[in-house]
């Protein structure tokens, strides 16, 4: 076997692939670690949201029997919503770091494969999510007595369905930025918010007009928020809802991956990878 063949063989092993993913996770971890304002920024907005909805719920509980009965509904919804938002932003912003630092060219011509970059972005979105949400969840318990872990297995199902959806959105948004450059940066920041009214975060699907309900039911997070209401209001875990969300998530993730691959190819055809950051 020639030296070139042996080097190629080394590069294609699973260990080599894991090494490249680890390199990228380290790269993003070093960025998080290098700046305390960035870490504080991760926690800031979820904390503000949780406090606002928590106090609103406390106020409503004094004036409305429904709100008193539904203790934890708003705080639970805001925590779950923030899982979707923070995870998608964690994914997309990690990718944007490469464009802001004009490093994308180096990465794209290194042996790093697109699937490895995606795996690293997924890992980083999880790390950022934990950094942001663990302190906020602890404060939700301390301030308002809402323990997200008391949801038990349901919380694990909610969490899994929300983060898979966030990765699908992350794949599409980073693909769009890769294809159209920083002009499309706002898309990466804003894409998730279109789901806020559609996924019925704070109200049941039945509240939506009839024509909009099928749209809501085609989105995995809708089942999560319906599931949260069922468990908080009735103490019922809707397993079928979680399975429906999972099935939809498989489809959305496949669409996200296909969109990312197509947009990367399109960026190579249109030459946007070499102009990135300029």
């Amino acid at each position: 076997m020639s030296r070139a063949q042996s080097r190629l063989r080394e590069q294609t092993t699973l260990a080599a692939s894991a090494q490249r993913v680890w390199a990228m996770v380290l790269r993003y971890w070093y960025v998080i670690r290098s700046s305390w304002p960035r870490t504080a920024e991760l926690i800031y907005w979820p904390l503000v949201q949780m406090l606002m909805w928590g106090f609103l719920q406390s106020y409503l509980a004094q004036t409305s029997s429904f709100a008193a009965k539904a203790a934890g509904l708003f705080i639970g919804a805001v925590l779950l919503w923030d899982i979707l938002v923070r995870s998608q932003l964690g994914f997309a912003v990690a990718f944007l770091e490469e464009i802001w630092s004009r490093n994308l060219g180096h990465l794209m011509m290194s042996p790093l494969r697109p699937s490895e970059l995606i795996t690293a972005l997924i890992a980083v979105s999880l790390i950022k999510l934990l950094v942001a949400m663990v302190p906020v969840a602890v404060m939700a318990y301390l301030f308002f007595g809402f323990n997200v872990l008391s949801l038990g297995f349901a919380f694990a199902a909610f969490f899994a369905n929300l983060i898979i959806m966030s990765w699908s959105l992350g794949l599409i948004s980073t693909g769009v930025v890769m294809r159209w450059g920083l002009g499309a940066e706002n898309f990466a920041w804003l894409i998730v918010f279109v789901f806020l009214p559609l996924c019925c975060v704070y109200y049941p699907v039945a509240t939506l007009p009839g024509w909009l309900q099928p749209v809501a039911l085609a989105l995995p997070p809708t089942y999560v928020f319906e599931g949260l209401r069922a468990i908080v209001l009735d103490g019922t875990f809707l397993a079928s809802y979680m399975l429906a969300a999972l099935a939809l998530n498989v489809i959305y993730f496949a669409i996200g991956y296909a969109a990312f691959s197509y947009l990367l190819h399109s960026a190579r055809v249109n030459g946007t990878l070499v102009q990135m950051g300029e």
Binding site: A4, Q11, M24, L26, R27, V31, S101, S110, P111, G271
Partner: protein
């Protein structure tokens, strides 16, 4: 010093081979039917004014841009389709592409060493830092370095995996003459010691005369000259490559004026 030509090169594919390469962006033809083959251990300069097609050609050699037609092959691999089979054997340096600013030099080198599958990370980083006078800068943030220091870091990144093919896009742009000379010496020594093949895009004609054994001159995406620097200077009856470059550029401008 004699250039090294590793034994494995003898029967292998050429480091880079470009055939009828063409790239059209909507109504702009950036590269128009370019063909060349690079020999092992050669240093080839791609010259031309702004918009001549140098960067697009290099981008197609790296697989970052897919040609409209034709092929760019590196070590036999079609860079539009199979670039991941050879990317670990090549590297790239340009002052226009940075490494992450917030990371220290050591962190940056560690990340790229891992990406390129470099063994003995700490030893390799220490050795290359020592060679490129970066040891004292290893724990400083890349973004806080001077232009010359950044270029040395960029060069260290480009040499980490001991590439057999090195693509350099204006490697000494914006450097003071002393630092630029130092960088050229390092590149010369690397090529001599490793037998590496280099593609160099540069506007610095003195640099090209010193480093390159072949010059491919591009104009409007086409090759208008492909010979050694000495042959090119003789053919145009000039004293330096800079004079040749100016003569060609002004001829082009005059033709364009008459055409309009």
């Amino acid at each position: 010093m004699q250039k090294l030509t590793p034994a494995s090169h003898a029967s292998s594919h050429p480091p880079a081979e470009v055939r009828d390469l063409r790239k059209v962006y909507r109504d702009v033809t950036a590269v128009d039917g370019v063909s060349f083959t690079l020999g092992h251990g050669s240093i080839t300069a791609l010259l031309g004014g702004n918009g001549a097609g140098k960067t697009t050609t290099i981008a197609m050699l790296m697989g970052l841009v897919i040609p409209t037609s034709g092929q760019a092959r590196v070590f036999g691999a079609d860079m539009a389709r199979a670039r991941h089979t050879v990317l670990h054997r090549m590297n790239f340096e340009s002052p226009y592409v940075d490494v992450p600013m917030r990371l220290t030099v050591r962190q940056n080198l560690e990340i790229f060493a891992r990406l390129y599958g470099v063994r003995e990370l700490s030893g390799t980083i220490a050795a290359i830092a020592d060679d490129l006078k970066l040891t004292d800068l290893l724990d400083r943030q890349y973004g806080k370095l001077s232009a010359g220091q950044k270029t040395r870091v960029s060069l260290a990144k480009a040499l980490l995996n001991q590439p057999e093919l090195l693509l350099l896009d204006e490697p000494t742009a914006s450097l003071d003459p002393d630092t630029a000379d130092w960088v050229r010496s390092k590149l010369e020594r690397y090529c001599l010691e490793r037998g590496a093949t280099v593609v160099l895009a540069s506007h610095n004609m003195a640099e090209v005369e010193r480093l390159a054994d072949r010059v491919i001159m591009l104009e409007k995406g086409r090759i208008i000259a492909d010979e050694t620097p000495t042959e090119l200077i003789q053919r145009f009856g000039r004293d330096t490559l800079e004079e040749v470059f100016l003569a060609i550029a002004r001829r082009g401008a005059k033709a364009a004026e008459m055409g309009s």
